[in-house]
Amino acid sequence: MTDATAAIPASTLAAAKAPRDRTLLLLLPAVAMLVVMFLVPLVVFFVRTFMEFEGSTAEFLDQAQDLLLSQPYLTALATTNWIALIVTVIVLLIGYPIAYYLTTAKGLGVSIVVLSIVLPYFTSIIVRTFSWMVLLGEHGLVNDTLRAAGLIRDPLPLMYNRLGVLIGMSYVLLPYMVLTLFAAMRSIDASLLRAAEGLGASGFYTFRRVYFPLSLHGVISGALIVYILSIGYFITPALMGGQHDIMIAMLIDRELEVAVDWPSAALMSLSLLLVTLVLYAVYYRITDIRRLIGAR
């Protein structure tokens, strides 16, 4: 590599570099959109928040400390992370077998599974959440069926509590996990599994020693994606949760809409953004994004 580069005259190198620079121009529309619609509002938002404190850093830090150590915030933080963690685990446990099935099976079954996973993905999240409410409500399909079957007398509390939040969020986030895992599993060379078997490994040993380690980067990426999306979740917990299921995004909404306390909302948003960025940095380190989308 080094030798080859050394042998090429500098002019050739410059010429080779030029087209690559121009391809970057292709990103311009996307970058412009992100800057105008995301970055600028974000900066303006935080600058204005900071102005609320009339430029006094001490007061800003003071309030930030008060807020971030306040009971409601800490409770919401704990709830948020706990829910995100449980949802991630649930989605992983359900998604892994589905993704595995998709990589191995052929024919109609695959189409049906893919359709039932991907189709809701393209449906509005509110529609999906309301569908769950129809199913899980006190007089929803599940409770009515169970009652009609005589299995229960009083309706089960499936909604407006933690269970409802977990069901709703897991469902909504499942496609992200399945598709991420699918991409990782599809890149596993089937001849390695055959080699393991041929060399005397049982099915379980092959899974534990070969298949799972090779799918691990998909597991980690999928878990991070689901976790990142979970901690910012708003609609599903707001509609399907109970009083004790206040997540940070809901707290932010409440500060804005009810308390009209913009500085607090901004501070909480900032904290959420920071957590998300840190997790994203981890995700970025672990996953080669280009590999995830199939490019080599």
Binding site: D189, G198, L199, G200
Partner: protein
């Protein structure tokens, strides 16, 4: 359960000094028999009633063009493909119902199938760990295998840090580390360049002989098969055409396909008539050539087979008949320079041009195109084969 008690035996004497090379397979183990093995995919019969008997400690090659069914045959022996009919016997026991991981074969795959997430050491240790060997025994045996394939200090490397040849050695070490009586190899050298391939051929052969293991080796490269094998089975369209030592199949092919597949071959078609042991082929030009007849050949249409390197070439037009040799007159149509040999195409009456190979020895000057020549070869070196099926 053949392999279970085998493993126990290996544990009992698992005290080899690292550099010491222990013969692996217990004598007399590892005989494989294929009895009428057949595999169909839809209407396509990819392996057709294959019968082979492979002796313990034999280096046996399945040789054929792509689509000949050689890999499918190997995969049935390995247990990855279920035969439609027929049986596979290992030391006399039918292993049809035994899953691949319990057959106890070593395997080397076409693309090596090295586990990318495991170090060289762990790759080689894989079959031992899968068999729940004790840690010390694993370490000792892996070191033995690493030394055997001359990768002694590469144990800590990751697979992506290795060259193709080194990966090949890892795959080989992994296949033999648990001393399997039988090792199956599926085109193991296919991805290597020519020089390296030759080196590895010698190494694999040496290791096989040292360990006394049975090797079933799939390849489409006839030189590879001939240089390594004790015996070769030549397959085409799922059927075994011939089984024999490299010399036998090269010198005495049973049909034109085998003759052509194992190297350059002249096949001169004509009407066959018998007279004792020696038969005659009458070329369309009327000239008769004599040769021993292959047992597969009846009267009727046939082909005289002669290898290009067995034909002598002399300038001139005068071809006196000889009792123990065939002669033909013709003229030089082409001469190709191939380095160590000069390959002539000689136009003769009533037949395809005859290919003649001459060593590019001291004092050999190429004959000019158009020069009249006499071709001569010993009757005993040629053979009459049945004509190609039409």
């Amino acid at each position: 359960m053949v392999e279970v008690d085998l493993d126990l035996k290996q544990h009992e004497r698992a005290e080899p000094a690292v550099a010491e090379l222990v013969p692996a397979a217990p004598a007399g183990r590892g005989a494989v028999e294929l009895v009428g093995l057949t595999k169909r995919y839809g209407d396509d019969t990819v392996v057709d009633r294959v019968v082979l008997s492979i002796a313990s400690g034999e280096f046996f090659s399945l040789l054929g063009p792509s689509g000949s069914g050689k890999t499918t045959t190997l995969m049935m022996v390995a247990g990855f493909v279920r035969p439609d009919t027929g049986a596979i016997l290992l030391d006399g026991e039918d292993i049809a119902a035994v899953p691949p991981q319990k057959r106890g074969f070593g395997m080397v795959f076409q693309n090596y199938a090295i586990f990318p997430h495991l170090s060289v050491f762990e790759n080689i240790a894989f079959p031992l760990r899968a068999r729940r060997w004790a840690k010390d025994a694993v370490a000792e045996r892996v070191r033995w295998a690493l030394d055997l394939v001359r990768l002694g200090r590469f144990g800590d490397r990751q697979p992506h840090q290795l060259s193709g040849g080194q990966q090949q050695r890892v795959a080989l070490a992994r296949a033999i580390v648990f001393h399997p009586p039988v090792v199956l190899m599926d085109e193991p050298l296919g991805a290597l360049d020519k020089n390296l391939r030759f080196e590895m051929q010698i190494e694999i052969k040496e290791i096989q002989q040292r360990l006394g293991m049975t090797v079933i080796y799939v390849t489409h490269d006839q030189e590879e098969a001939m240089s390594m094998s004790d015996r070769i089975a030549i397959l085409n369209h799922g059927r075994v055409h011939q089984v024999g030592s490299p010399g036998e199949v090269y010198e005495r092919p049973v049909d034109p396909f085998v003759g052509r597949f194992l190297g350059e071959a002249n096949l001169l078609g004509g009407a066959v008539t018998a007279k004792g042991d020696i038969a005659r082929v009458a070329l369309p030009s009327g000239q008769e050539l004599r040769a021993p007849r292959a047992s597969s050949c009846d009267d009727g249409r046939g082909m005289l087979f002669i290898r290009p390197e067995r034909v002598e070439i002399t300038p001139g037009t005068n071809a006196p008949p000889e009792p123990s040799a065939n002669t033909l007159t013709g003229s030089v149509r082409r001469c190709s320079f191939l380095g160590n040999i000069l390959r002539y195409a000689i136009a003769v009456d009533g037949a395809e041009p005859v290919t003649v190979d001459l060593q590019n020895a001291v004092g050999v000057a190429p004959l000019p195109v158009g020069a009249p020549v006499v071709l001569r070869w010993p009757v005993a070196d040629s053979l009459i084969l049945p004509a190609d099926p039409v």
